[in-house]
């Protein structure tokens, strides 16, 4: 099994602040002040921002919607607070550190990369864009994720997940790589799921997943999808010491909903 996350000082893919990027020092800023600055910077034309000394400030990236759909690349140094990238529309956020609960809450589009772990309620009701978490995440990840038309949210978690992963999921792709080789011990995976697909590296027991879910091994078409996102994952986290081939060599389990209408027969018509 691949051993991941052995970080040597110096090789860590560092923040690419440098030329052209505006810098905010968040050390003494409240959440609202920080987001005020971010919005001002975006409106004044900045396209790359680096925020240093982040320590629990919430809603980073949330207040960055404009009708013109301006886009920014934001680098967060430190620990991002709750609801990072909530309602995010089109921006790219990289966190060099951990993130707390509610990453990508109802996210619309864009990309979130967390070089660390994420808390509970990751990617809740996400309807587009991509989230990459290098390490594990907390409970209730990918709840009620949904897709429509061309928009298909993607969530890739390098570590393991906790209970209620993909509950009420209605669309999108969730990939749990479990690189630390832990056994999937989460329960209630995919309860009420009625769309989308979850790929777990390794296997799960029938008792761990909801009644509405079919468990099957990943097939060739699935491996193509996995290949795309695993290589994107590795591109974003060069510090992860493993190769695509090594990851894809292990068996993947696919979880799909039994029906688009899990509760169709519940009512007396």
């Amino acid at each position: 099994m691949a051993k991941a996350f052995v970080l040597e000082p110096g090789v860590r893919a560092g923040p690419s602040g440098g030329m052209g990027a505006a810098v905010i020092d968040a050390a003494s800023l409240e959440t609202r002040e920080l987001n005020d600055r971010l919005r001002e910077l975006m409106l004044s034309g900045a396209r790359r921002v680096q925020i240093s000394n982040v320590c629990g400030q919430r809603y980073i990236g949330t207040r960055l919607y404009t009708p013109e759909r301006l886009k920014m690349e934001i680098e967060v140094l430190g620990t991002a607070g709750n609801d990072l990238a909530a309602f995010l529309s089109g921006h790219k956020i990289t966190v060099h550190g951990n993130a707390q609960d509610g990453v990508g809450n109802t996210m619309d589009s864009g990309e979130v990369i967390v070089r660390g772990r994420a808390g509970d309620v990751l990617g809740f009701s996400m309807r587009g864009g991509e989230i990459y978490i290098r390490d594990g995440c907390g409970y209730r990840a990918a709840l009620h994720m949904k897709e429509y038309q061309g928009k298909r949210p993607v969530l890739v978690v390098g570590g393991g997940c906790q209970d209620f992963l993909g509950e009420y999921m209605a669309g999108g792709v969730v990939i749990v790589l479990d690189l630390e080789g832990e056994i999937h011990d989460a329960s209630f995976i995919g309860t009420g799921m009625h769309g989308g697909v979850i790929y777990l590296r390794g296997t799960v027991e029938g008792s761990q997943v909801g009644d509405q879910v079919d468990i099957s091994p990943a097939e060739e078409a699935d491996m193509e999808v996995l290949e795309v996102y695993v290589s994107r994952f590795l591109e974003r986290f060069p510090e992860v010491e493993t190769t695509k081939e090594e990851i894809l060599a292990s068996p993947f389990t696919r979880l799909t909903p039994r029906s688009k209408r899990p509760y169709g027969g519940l009512y007396a018509y």
Binding site: T31, R32, N35, R39, R58, Y59, T62, R63, Y65, P67, N82, D83, A86, F87, S89, D101, G102, N105, T106, D108, V121, F124, S125, R127, R140, L143, H144, K146, E147, Y148, Q149, K151, E167, Y168, A170, G171, G192, H194, G195, K260, R261, P262, Y263, G264, G265, L266, Y267, A268, Y269
Partner: protein, 504 residues
């Protein structure tokens, strides 16, 4: 399985009047009436009848009468016909009984036990035809104190004022989602709201993109547990954002929009795949505490750049006043409180008829609680659930509400007859359906005229009642229980309502 349930209605067709025009057959989506080309007569299958009266109203010869079926089970005070039939239906299907509209159970309607005051001689009444009467209402957080500086005749307000909604009349359209109701019905509500200077609520189904520019200025958008149709543009195009936690008709449970109602356009608006069940879970899965709610409220304020008031809609349940206090402290600018008789497109009957408390009591206890805690100014209260006429509005405001939501009343204005079959998606009046043939029946222009007529009629009546009480601004009536007296109420009810008995 053979059904042991009686037809609910009997249809009497006056054969002499009937001209076999087949109008009834074409009007009925439930397939009750059938034309027989051999005899050139129409026959009816009463088992399918929902009692919506569409055929009776549109019969040119007035040849059709639909009335409750006279057949009966042996009368039994404990086992009413409804209980027997519900039981039979469940025995036949094994399913949860669904129903639509608000509860029809004979809970006491407190509106009908409250009387209003009027001025005589010493405090003369005001003539609303001659004097200006102010119904304009501002919904949202009001500052604890105003720091005003007057210099050289210029007045400067130093206090930061929170965003408020301005309504010309204290009547707003309640949340009804596109998907639950038809596009035409949804658009009629939006058109009427814009025309009457009030707001419509998108419900949890999103706001179609082409409506955002035109109707955003009179929209309150909803964020519910399913998070359907929500993106930053949706939240920013409206004037306020409402977090739906509970609904009066079904407190504590979520909603399922059945897959067959998720048409292409509905799917696009809700941002989900066509034909899948749109499931709103019972709780918001990111809200398990007041702190979590506060997080979401702030997230919504963030995404809307602190420019819009955030409302939280909860159902009136036993201990809701304490919860509401927490909600205000969590940062909500408006609390919408939906009572026992609140309507719905589909709810389990057991929940609709048994869970929650009446709106009237809820308004009063919420208002009192917030006053006692000294935070009444920090939020506005919108009362919903069973508001039937302008005097209900006046009483609600005198009990402490800032404004009211009307749902069923608006639907009735558009043609709804409360047949309670909304969940079938076959609404003959074109309101609660996604069938293009049926929804086409509701003409946006005509329906929105009916709605704005209703609003203007109620507003006139409210002005009359205010004038009668000697009040010339709605502000002065808010929470002014001195203008209310109870008739036929028990002591505890008067206490909860905070009003005196008539004559006291």
């Amino acid at each position: 399985m053979r059904s042991f349930v009686f037809p609910e209605f009997s249809i009497i067709r006056d054969e002499e009047r009937c001209g076999s025009c087949r109008g009834c057959e074409r009007q009925c989506a439930f397939g009750v009436h059938t034309y027989d080309p051999v005899t050139d007569r129409l026959t009816s299958d009463e088992q399918k009848c929902a009692g919506c009266q569409r055929c009776a109203i549109f019969c040119p010869e007035k040849a059709i009468v639909v009335r409750p079926s006279p057949s009966f089970y042996r009368p039994n005070a404990s086992w009413s016909r409804e209980k027997i039939e519900d039981l039979k239906r469940q025995a036949e299907t094994g399913g949860v009984l669904l129903t639509g509209c608000g509860s029809d159970k004979p809970f006491r309607i407190y509106w009908d036990h409250i009387v209003l005051n009027a001025s005589q001689v010493t405090n003369p009444s005001i003539d609303p035809l001659r004097e200006p009467m102010e119904l304009r209402t501002f919904l949202g957080r009001k500052p604890d104190m105003l720091d005003i500086r007057a210099e050289d005749g210029d007045v400067e307000i130093r206090t930061e004022i929170s965003p408020n909604l301005t309504v010309e009349t204290p009547i707003l359209f309640s949340a009804m989602s596109y998907g639950a109701i038809s596009y035409n019905a949804f658009r009629s509500l939006a058109t009427a709201a814009c025309r009457s200077g009030t707001y419509f609520n998108t419900g949890e189904g999103g706001l179609p993109r082409e409506m955002r520019d035109e109707f955003g200025r009179c929209a309150i958008v909803q964020v519910a547990s399913g998070r359907f149709g929500i993106d930053a543009e949706y939240l920013n195009c409206a004037q306020a954002v409402e977090i739906k936690v509970g609904q009066g008709a079904k407190p504590g449970i979520g909603g399922h929009l059945p897959g067959e109602k998720v048409s292409l356009a509905v799917a696009e608006t809700r941002m989900i795949p066509q034909g899948t069940d749109a499931i709103s879970p019972a709780p918001h899965h990111d809200i398990y505490s007041i702190e979590d709610l506060s997080t979401l409220i702030t997230a919504l304020k963030e995404v809307t750049n602190y420019e819009k008031p955030i409302s939280v809609k909860i159902a009136a349940v036993h201990n809701f006043a304490a919860i509401a206090s927490g909600i205000v402290r969590a940062g909500a600018d408006i609390i919408a409180i939906d009572g026992l008789r609140g309507g719905t497109g589909a709810a389990p009957k057991a929940i609709r008829d048994n869970v929650g408390i009446p709106t009237e009591l809820a308004i009063s206890s919420l208002d009192r609680r917030l006053r006692e805690e000294g935070i009444r100014n920090q939020c506005s209260i919108i009362a919903a659930g069973g508001i039937r006429c302008s005097s209900d509005v006046v009483k609600a405001i005198a009990l402490g509400a800032d404004a009211v939501y009307i749902g069923s009343a608006a639907l009735i204005a558009m043609g709804c007859t409360l047949c309670q079959k909304c969940y079938t998606g076959k609404c003959n009046w074109g309101i609660c359906t996604q069938d293009p043939r049926l929804s086409g029946r509701l003409n946006v222009e005509i329906a929105s005229t009916r709605l704005s007529n209703l609003i203007s009629a109620w507003s006139h009546e409210i002005r009359e009642m205010l004038g009668g009480m000697g009040i010339n601004a709605l502000e002065s009536l808010r929470g002014n229980r001195d203008h209310l007296r109870g008739v036929g109420l028990y002591e505890w009810e008067l206490d909860v309502l905070g009003i005196k008995g008539a004559g006291e």
